[in-house]
Symmetry: C2
Subunit: 335 residues, 2 copies
Amino acid sequence: MIKRVTLADVARQAGVSMQTVSRAVRDKDDISTETRERIMAIVNELGYRPSGIARSLVTQRTTTVGLMVPDIANPFFSEIARGVEDTAYAHAYSLFLCNAAEDIEREKAALNSLLEKQVDGVIICSPRLPMTDLFAYLEQFYYAVVFNRDLSEDIDKVRLIYVDDQEGTRLAWDHFVQLGHQKIGMLAGPVQSWSSQQRVASFRAACTSAGLDGCLELIEHCMPTIAGGLEGTERLLSDHPEITAILAFNDLVAIGALRGCQNLGRRVPQDIEIIGSDDIPLASLMTPPLTSLHVPHRTLGVTVMQSLIQLLNGEKPDPYRIIFHPELTLRCSAP
Amino acid sequence: MIKRVTLADVARQAGVSMQTVSRAVRDKDDISTETRERIMAIVNELGYRPSGIARSLVTQRTTTVGLMVPDIANPFFSEIARGVEDTAYAHAYSLFLCNAAEDIEREKAALNSLLEKQVDGVIICSPRLPMTDLFAYLEQFYYAVVFNRDLSEDIDKVRLIYVDDQEGTRLAWDHFVQLGHQKIGMLAGPVQSWSSQQRVASFRAACTSAGLDGCLELIEHCMPTIAGGLEGTERLLSDHPEITAILAFNDLVAIGALRGCQNLGRRVPQDIEIIGSDDIPLASLMTPPLTSLHVPHRTLGVTVMQSLIQLLNGEKPDPYRIIFHPELTLRCSAP
DNA sequence: CTGTTAGCGCCTTCAT
DNA sequence: ATGAAGGCGCTAACAG
């Protein structure tokens, strides 16, 4: 391993104390312009780089944050990650990326690792982690922003940002009803997901209040992927061929549903209509283009990181919850 | 800021030296089972977590690697990132994610930051960074894997992994020629991109050797995005309406081209045929499904990280260059 | 098997 | 404006 150039090396070469070099490097003002320039010349000559590790040990800050997502290959999360990274960069924070990969043990391992890395703050997009575990972790992090799930209790150093899934579900439901549908099915995503639970609750309430109790049986859980949507659709339609409309957990599931319908010879939107969720770039590119519940993904990422930065700066961001409202973007799959 | 529990705290409580606690925590074997258990009980009770920072300062290792990509929101790179993260996790490394965002200054800033963070190794996907800058950085990192670009000089601590773009271009070209095309255009991506340069070179060579010198004028550079493909197609087809086939820099550009053709009333594949590159999941979902040069994205990510891990382990991965060969996956846009 | 000593590279505090 | 002393939390190397 190459020997690092240290403050001491620069100090020796410059004939000053380490302290003076440190001041020059950090651009502090109680130092003469002349010495500063002389020192910086030597810094460049020697190729000195301050050790972030040593610095962090003493300052107890790492200028580092963690981002935990279920799957970075999912366009919804990669867009969010992009927003987070852009904002982190703008504020000189580095970003640890962790992928839960639908595996709770792995998720815990990743959070433990973030804790050991001593991130200054963390963003947790974790629809599955049991609430007690989540609370246990939140307690240990300095600051945290939790994305897309609500907590039963407000914690001072935490902020919440989520999409109002109940509202989204209602919007989609109302649209279907307005189009005259009576047999509306739901591909509800993973059972343990908070977001899924919200939607199911909202869907159930809508069924009952619309007097369409038959739809209560038309809820099918599935993986939040194209394959999951495909399988879910096949199960749903083979059990309930009477379905004429499907509300999907997200756009990937909706695309799977599109495929599933095609496989079963059901035309979209003539025989069956589909509404997706999140409005990822893909949605508008499909044939037929997908009607979807739009949320501004990248903005979501930016907002999440901005809130974390406020916390990091010792501010108390208000409100405690930032709630995004999905908008139904009409396209051909449910015009 | 909450007071950390330190080794000293645990040691005091357990009535042993810090060293013994350290051994227990790191699961070293020269310690009696009895003391280990007693200590671990106290560790749990006190909620002690080792400080990665302090540990790194003394070991000079951070168990951290950096990943630099142009744009994490681009499905090609998010798939790669997924492969990298999975593999990093499997080997207990944490991943810093950096986004160059098509901005060379930002890219340098990110690399500087990785250097200060003292990552053990770095993966650089940087098609644009000038070669001299790249070499300067490679010199400063302990280990590096460079993705999708070749270097004029072999460096001991570096490995190279790339897709053979010349071969890919040839495959696509040959397919077009076989289909009878004479006016083949190219949407070549960003001028500064190494990958773009490879393809242009290969395209040029193919033009000449096929006696289709007219095609030399049908090369249009563009941003590597859907919007870039759209604009590029409009420029290309308005200048050269005689074009009947387009080879796109990547699938996003190909999708833009698809759109552009539709806007201009040219049907794909009847009036004009299109071949994309990378075969991202989107490609097969388009209408018409896109013919594309397939590369195994996630495997690419896994391979890149595996090579880095070998370097990190002090091995000398052989061969120096791992080259992936794209395969032409035929779909409807150029059957 | 356990403890002691000596830093890792830097910043904070206090002197000068 | 500059320097000296002390310590951040941990581990490597050596004793015992």
